[in-house]
């Protein structure tokens, strides 16, 4: 079954702005979505917004979500080191319609298991918002660290961004098995790890992501196609799981 048959129906759970200059980033993002039949994307802010300019980054996402309603959905950011201000930042962002929290421990300078992230997770629990974290960086963003958070907050769905790419591939399935509220996002990681996870925990816990602009839909869609998933599994991975998780409808 070809992903291409899903023309204009794919939901991409892992796109990012590559700079805070949206005039440059957004048109190329939308072009890429059009080229590959991506109906809508969950987008995270650019690095500068993730690390420092949290409020400006969240307002930028709110603006994009408003301008491209139904096409782009936004994740909120707040650097946990900003403490109470960080909590206020994501509360404000959720109130304006952003659909989850984006964590990037390497850029934000914390370990997933450090206590400073707990207030943000409590906020997500109160607002019933999922948490996406980039994973694959040793010491600070490892699959088992995210699984530990998932076990501490079983009410929150967590997403293992980039599936531990690169060399935490061996921890991916064991971490997923630790927490049923932990899902896998497919970008960057090799196909064998992704379909290995599908075989063990099921397609309902896997979300397609392109990882754009770090990776590309051209690479990532082909990767999923080559897995020869059945129609139902493909539908879940490419679209349905994301719609349910993020509470979105293209």
């Amino acid at each position: 079954m070809k992903v291409n048959n899903w023309h204009m129906k794919i939901v991409d759970s892992a796109m990012r702005l590559d700079s805070m200059e949206t005039d440059g980033a957004v048109p190329s993002m939308l072009d890429e979505m059009d080229r590959f039949g991506i109906a809508c994307a969950v987008v995270a802010p650019a690095d500068a917004a993730v690390a420092v300019h949290n409020v400006a980054g969240n307002l930028q996402m709110v603006d994009l979500v408003t301008r491209y309603r139904g096409r782009l959905f936004g994740l909120a950011v707040a650097n946990p080191w900003f403490g109470r201000d960080a909590v206020h930042a994501i509360e404000g962002a959720f109130a304006r319609g952003l659909c989850g929290l984006f964590l990037h421990p390497r850029r934000q300078g914390f370990r997933l298991t450090e206590s400073i992230v707990q207030p943000l997770l409590e906020t997500c629990r109160r607002h019933r918002k999922p948490v996406y974290s980039s994973t694959g960086t040793p010491v600070c963003a490892e699959p088992f660290q995210l699984a530990e958070l998932a076990r501490q907050f079983p009410e929150i769905p967590f997403v293992m961004g980039h599936a531990g790419y690169s060399d935490f591939w061996y921890d991916v399935v064991p971490a997923l098995k630790q927490a049923s509220n932990l899902m896998l996002e497919t970008s960057c990681q090799v196909a064998g790890v992704i379909d290995g996870a599908i075989n063990v925990v099921g397609a309902e816990r896997v979300l397609y992501g392109s990882g754009w602009p770090r990776s590309s839909p051209a690479v990532e869609i082909q990767k999923i196609e080559r897995m020869n998933l059945g129609a139902a599994a493909l539908r879940r991975v490419m679209r349905e799981n994301a719609m349910k998780l993020w509470g979105i409808r293209p």
Binding site: G136, P138, S166, S215, V219, Q222, R226
Partner: protein
Amino acid sequence: MNLIDAHTHLPGRSFGGKPRPIADLRREFANAGLCGAWIFTTDGLVMEAEKNNNILAEAVRGDRDFFEPFGTVNPHAGEDAAIRELERMRFELGMRGLKLHPWLQGFSLTHPSVKPILQRAGEMGLPVLFHDGTPPYSHPLQIAAVAEQVPSTMVILGHAGLDEAYEDAILACRRHPNLFLCLCGPSCGPLAEIVRRCPVDRLLFGSDGGFGSRVIETAIAKFHAAGLSQKTLQTIGCENPRRLVPKQPRRTDPPAQTHQHET
């Protein structure tokens, strides 16, 4: 496009794998679009380097027109023993390069055997390809620090730093003229940046092939998605690996020279 893959493995029993006939691998590689491949042991990186060098050499014995085998040694064997095996694999087994994997083999680049091994490899004309991109033993600048001490040895970062350390790999490549990057692993965004910022004559195509045909397809797809020109692809995918490991006249048996002939 005829691509030479500078990073493939002979599957073994490690990592839950199982050995595959070399004819199957060759067919798979050729079907994926390769015209040749540097091939490394897998099992030899975690156990019994000498035995697995023999297995690799024997496996590719009749396919030397396609495969260029890279053997391995373990620095923990000690300088003398490691260099003896290095010379044996070069002169008796006909290996074309040395593969080292500090992470799997469990050695630091500061191990006292490492520099002499690299020095001797350079003297014998063997490029040395390292696994890289994973701490604490395999980061690009750790490998670059040793490469700087052996300027006549061609040193290759086998993963160009992967996604987490590719920027360090770029710095290393730009600083050290004997340091090459094999673009096996970085996603297409980092890959495009590496090509933009590094001397293109010191870049290689690689896939980690041997662990399933999809990894080669994905590696090729990344190159295309990175928007590289045909000329750049030709340089990286064909000319550079041929320059580092020139094609030898076809022979059934490995070369029978003694090391005195080569040094």
